[in-house]
């Protein structure tokens, strides 16, 4: 792929180019067929490109050849929507602790071979190639990842002060973008970190107290129902999390869950 094939948007003068890479990409037409790794070459890749821009280059090439471009999910491309997510050389979102869209090619070297696979977990079935269906996460939220407050019923915002430390810790947990890297990286394909982040966020705030017991019990029940694995506290999730959600949230979830069960909370069937 050469620069001339693209029209000149921007076009600063001192652009760096030059990496040649071998990509091995999981291709799978749809969930009903078996997939396999297919090898592609891309040339003249700039180290300033994002990983997804590198895949754009490949796809433009494939389209022009009349081949099927590689399907992958992405949207905001600024690391916040959680839509992108690829297993890159065996690591969720690649070698940096960030989202795939924020991974830049300067993390690789000329001549590298890169394996690209979709998230693999049975609750995340492959839709096509590298795109997976993550709606299991939505269903976990549906099971209790909210505070029930009908529109218009809220009291004055300053009616309940929240200690800064709690608000900050709640925020840290609330930054989870639901990308699924935790599940992808976990040897057990567990969604514990995702669930724990929400349980922690809402459980730390005074507004979240009334539903605290039911929330944790139901979210965990849903997580099991979706077919995620169990947590064995290995920590791959937190190490892969682009938002650095900590293992502490899992401990907090466990604490809440055992407390809720002792208090008699039981999941809705």
């Amino acid at each position: 792929m050469t620069a001339s094939m693209q029209s000149s948007v921007g076009n600063p003068a001192d652009e760096k180019r030059g990496m040649n890479l071998t990509l091995r990409i999981w291709r799978q037409k749809d969930p009903s067929v078996k997939g396999k790794m297919v090898t592609y070459k891309v040339t003249d890749i700039s180290p300033d490109m994002s990983f997804l821009e590198m895949l754009d280059v490949l796809n433009e090439q494939l389209i022009l050849q009349g081949d099927d471009p590689v399907a992958f999910d992405h949207d905001c491309r600024e690391g916040i929507c959680g839509m992108c997510g690829l297993m890159i050389n065996g690591q969720a979102h690649g070698p940096q602790q960030t989202t795939t869209c924020q991974l830049h090619m300067r993390s690789f070297s000329d001549g590298d071979s890169i394996d690209i696979e979709p998230w693999r977990a049975s609750p995340f079935p492959v839709i096509k190639d590298l795109a997976v269906d993550r709606r299991a996460f939505d269903r976990i939220i549906q099971a209790g990842g909210y505070i029930s407050v009908p529109t218009g019923t809220a009291p004055e915002a300053h009616a309940t002060p929240v200690p800064k430390a709690d608000a900050d810790a709640a925020f840290d947990a609330a930054t989870c973008i639901g990308c699924g890297a935790c599940v992808a990286a976990c040897p057990n394909a567990s969604s514990m970190l995702f669930t724990a982040a929400k349980v922690t966020h809402l459980g730390l705030l005074p507004q979240g107290q009334p539903e605290r017991n039911d929330r944790v019990v139901n979210m965990i029940a849903q997580q099991d129902r979706e077919g995620f694995g169990g947590c064995t506290n290995i920590g791959e999730c937190s190490a892969a999390c682009p938002k650095g959600i900590s293992m502490e949230t899992i401990s907090r979830l466990n604490h809440d869950l055992l407390g809720a069960l002792r208090a008699g909370a039981r999941p809705k069937s």
């Binding site: 065996g90 997580q223 169990g230 999941p267």
Partner: protein
Amino acid sequence: MTVTHAGRRTPKVAKTNSIVKKAVMAVSGIVMVLYLIAHMIGNLKVFTGRESFNHYSEWIRTIGSPALPHQTALTIIRAILLIAVIAHFWAAVSLWRQAKRARPERYVTKKAVAQSYASRTMRWGGVIVLLFIVYHILDLTMGVVNPDGNDSTPYDRLVASFSNPFITAFYVISLVLLGMHLRHGIWSATQTLGQSNRRRERTVNAFAIAFSTILIAGFLIVPFSVLTGLVD
């Protein structure tokens, strides 16, 4: 219209909540660790000589005697331990199977970032430790596979086994594995029982390492002493 992309399969519903299983694993693990502490301290009696060690072994079997029948306390301990082992094993297998179901298609390339050797070997390490325990009971408790046979005293069985470098090597490997199992197990149990947090995380990990090292060292000192002739 309800969209049903990518044919969502109905997963097998786990009957027991995965965290309850984990809690069972943690509590049974703690029970076994408590026993191991007592066991290790008891072992050190070997340095007080044959007489004293055999007497200790006899004392365990006669606690409460003559008010209680022979071996009452020991039987209770054994029963509790057996339940703990079974519960621990059941929880482990069940979570293992859940994990297998959760990822039927494996990665072509997968790199571990955070996992330690200890956490990676929890499952196979656990199985090896279990096999070791079975052998250990047959060897030193029941004596059926002991070089000295089952008629000898506990002290003699111990010396007989550990005088054999191969048996000692097996003990050492198994105990090191057990140590690693404990190292991750202690951290994991703290997490599972909801007692860890960011501030405590480092302390818990340091404690787990120190505790398992001391415990295993306490166990290992006995075979090494036999091997080096310190105990004979």
